[in-house]
């Protein structure tokens, strides 16, 4: 595994202009990813995981604006021309959307949709192809994700398939042609645990065999613990803690991470923690200091006034908290 930096995100800010005003959703998000690495992005509903992904690919909604540097192989995605951007999307990065049902076009067959993606990719690489080649690649991709009877699925419409199959199709679409970076948004988490385990296993295998890098966004701490090398914990549009998976789970240091871990029901049956008081931050007027401060039991004047920066806590493990040492 080479340790070349593939993606570096520096001070990414995303704003949504909504009816009530300006929502400051992502606030100075910075992280980086080396080739072949599996990074987890964890947080609760509305913490900005999907927004981060969409910003990386520049597919934010029309009312959103994004500032900051997204350096992919040294090129800034936010400053790319349309053709460069198109090529990056076609050959470098790809994203698996959260909801496999709504992210497949309902009135086209799976085959048509996956073929379009492959065609775009081959065009971008300047490879000559025939329609038969495309179908072969598509069928191979479908069988790669362990779908039974790829020929039949190729000619099916999304609504004729189960949720698990749709999720596999979304993955197949992203890995049908070689990509360097896969952005997986809650893969399988809307499905049953047994299916989720299969999907995650599948993703892991794909990553191992192709050497792809993955960023996995999920709300489930268990999922990242089992499938990633490094983890970012997000709260309210900020990264509050980032570190190698083992050390982060062994030694959670941000109060939010700790509280979140305590809330997860354990198989060992030690009861349920009280939960985190209060509500998710309002992006319309977020607190001036630390965004978690209104819900934090350790907060003091300092947290109220200044925003904590990510600081080294232990080996490669960073925390954004004034009271992390406690």
């Amino acid at each position: 595994m080479s340790s070349e930096v593939l993606l570096e995100v520096k001070d990414l800010n995303v704003y949504y202009r909504v009816y009530e005003g300006l929502m400051h959703v992502l606030d100075d998000v910075s992280f980086s990813l080396v080739e072949g690495e599996r990074l987890g992005l964890v947080g609760e509903t509305g913490c900005g995981k999907t927004t981060t992904f969409r910003a990386l690919l520049r597919v934010l909604d029309s009312n959103a604006s994004s500032k900051g540097d997204i350096l992919y192989k040294g090129c800034n995605v936010n400053k790319m021309s349309q053709t460069e951007l198109l090529n990056t999307r076609r050959t470098e990065m790809s994203m698996i959307f959260q909801d496999p049902t709504s992210s497949l076009n309902p009135v086209f067959t799976v085959g048509e949709q996956i073929s379009s993606v492959i065609r775009a990719n081959l065009q971008a690489k300047g490879i000559n192809y025939s329609e038969n080649d495309i179908k072969d690649i598509a069928l191979k991709a479908l069988s790669d994700v362990l779908l039974p009877d790829p020929e039949r699925i190729f000619d099916s419409y999304p609504f004729q398939l189960s949720g698990g199959m749709r999720q596999r199709i979304c993955i197949a679409m992203s890995v049908a042609t070689e990509r360097k970076l896969l952005l997986a948004d809650e893969p399988g988490t809307s499905l049953d645990v047994t299916i989720q385990a299969q999907i995650l296993g599948l993703l892991n295998n794909l990553v191992k065999t192709t050497g792809m890098s993955v960023i996995l966004a999920t709300h489930s701490l268990g999922v990242v613990r089992e499938t990633t090398d490094r983890v970012c914990i997000m709260y309210g549009g900020e990264i509050v803690e980032i570190g190698p998976t083992r050390s982060l789970f062994a030694n959670p240091s941000h109060p939010y991470t700790r509280a979140l871990l305590a809330c997860v029901p354990k198989l060992t049956g030690e009861g349920i923690a009280e939960g985190i008081p209060g509500e998710m931050v309002s992006y319309l007027n977020p607190p001036k200091g630390c965004r978690f401060q209104p819900r934090c039991s350790f907060c003091n004047e300092d947290c109220n006034r200044t925003k904590p920066k990510l600081t080294l806590y232990e080996d490669d493990h960073y925390v954004a908290c004034h009271k992390a040492d406690l």
Binding site: V59, S94, M95, S103, V107, F108, S116, N121, M173
Partner: protein
């Protein structure tokens, strides 16, 4: 297939509804004060003549008997005698229906093609002056009754800017031996192209006046459904996968977005028939609808009932046609109906 069972079932129920409607119209027409026989013959006819006509029209029998008698003859293709023209209603309809069909079909094509086209154009230029301009046009189209369009077109094109003919189906002296009764079709079939062109030019104004409402509606529906759909996950996903803007817009966005527009077509074809009632009389178009209005004002019950039945029947056919069209575009309807 499921979809055919679905369409058959719906058609059957529509026919039942049509029979129900005929009962209502029939009852209403018989309980309304006024003696149809007397009205047909005028105030100066003798009492004997009126009585004779009453017996001929079976007006002396109980209502239920009259109804079943009427239905029985309708099933044989006989709508009875028109009191207005004193001819068989069936013969009248044979003359007038093709003219209306021709008009409505051309109007339907105009509104469909231009409505969806304008909707697409407005979406493509969303936010620009073009978009605003098209939206204003669409607003005007929606809020103006088609008979107002007809009158205004007549004023504008017939008198102020006389570039298009405004009255009748053809210029005086031109004509063609009928096959279908639709002059454009007939003249093409008979290879009489000057007449075809002339007849088509005569069609343009009334058809456009008729189509304006529906066209504006379609444009608005198409635009709003395209804009709604363009924020959907699947479009974002396709963008993220690097498909070209053109492919996304014309393939992946257009097809799901025209479904709501196509679904309202049946209603719109009905509205075309209804508005033809007024537009035909303005443009002096010898069609079924003008005949219907005249029959209504004359209280010619046989003719009115016949016109309503025919329109109801055409409406059913339009519904079947649109159901099939939607099934072709939308696989969910095609493969899932009936579940």
């Amino acid at each position: 297939m499921e979809i055919f069972r679905f369409i058959c079932k719906r058609t059957l129920w529509s026919l039942v509804a049509l029979v129900g409607l005929s009962i209502i119209i029939f009852t209403l027409s018989r309980v309304v004060p006024g003696d149809p026989a007397r009205m047909a013959l005028g105030p100066r006819a003798t009492e004997e003549a009126v009585e004779a006509l009453r017996i001929e029209l079976k007006l002396d029998q109980p209502i239920i008997y009259q109804y079943f008698h009427w239905i029985a003859s309708v099933l044989k293709g006989d709508f009875g005698l028109s009191l207005m023209t004193m001819r068989s209603v069936t013969d009248d309809i044979k003359i007038y229906l093709p003219a209306t069909l021709e008009l409505v079909i051309v109007a339907a094509i105009i509104q469909c093609v231009f409505g969806i086209l304008l909707g697409v154009l407005a979406t493509a230029s969303q936010g620009s002056y073009m978009d605003y301009f098209l939206r204003i046009i669409a607003y005007i189209g929606v809020v103006t009754p088609s008979f107002v369009f007809a009158v205004l077109f007549m004023l504008l094109f017939g008198y102020k800017l006389p570039i298009l003919p405004v009255l009748g189906r053809t210029s005086v002296g031109l004509g063609v031996q009928p096959i279908t009764g639709m002059i454009v079709v007939d003249s093409i079939l008979r290879c009489d192209f000057p007449v075809a062109v002339d007849a088509f030019v005569h069609l343009l104004l009334p058809a456009t006046a008729l189509a304006m409402n529906g066209m504006a509606q379609l444009a608005r529906i198409t635009r709003s459904s395209m804009i709604d759909n363009s924020e959907r996950d699947y479009i974002v996903m396709e963008t993220a996968q690097g498909l070209s803007k053109k492919e996304i817009f014309f393939k992946y966005l257009l097809r799901p977005s025209v479904i709501p527009a196509v679904s309202v077509l049946a209603l719109q074809i009905g509205a075309l028939f209804a508005n033809a009632f007024l537009v035909e009389s303005i443009f002096n178009w010898p069609g079924l609808s003008r005949y219907g209005v005249e029959a209504m004002l004359f209280k010619d019950l046989n003719a009115v009932s016949a016109v309503i039945c025919i329109v109801g029947f055409v409406f059913i056919i339009a519904n079947i046609f649109v159901d099939i069209l939607v099934a072709i575009i939308d696989p969910r309807v095609r493969l899932k109906a009936g579940e």
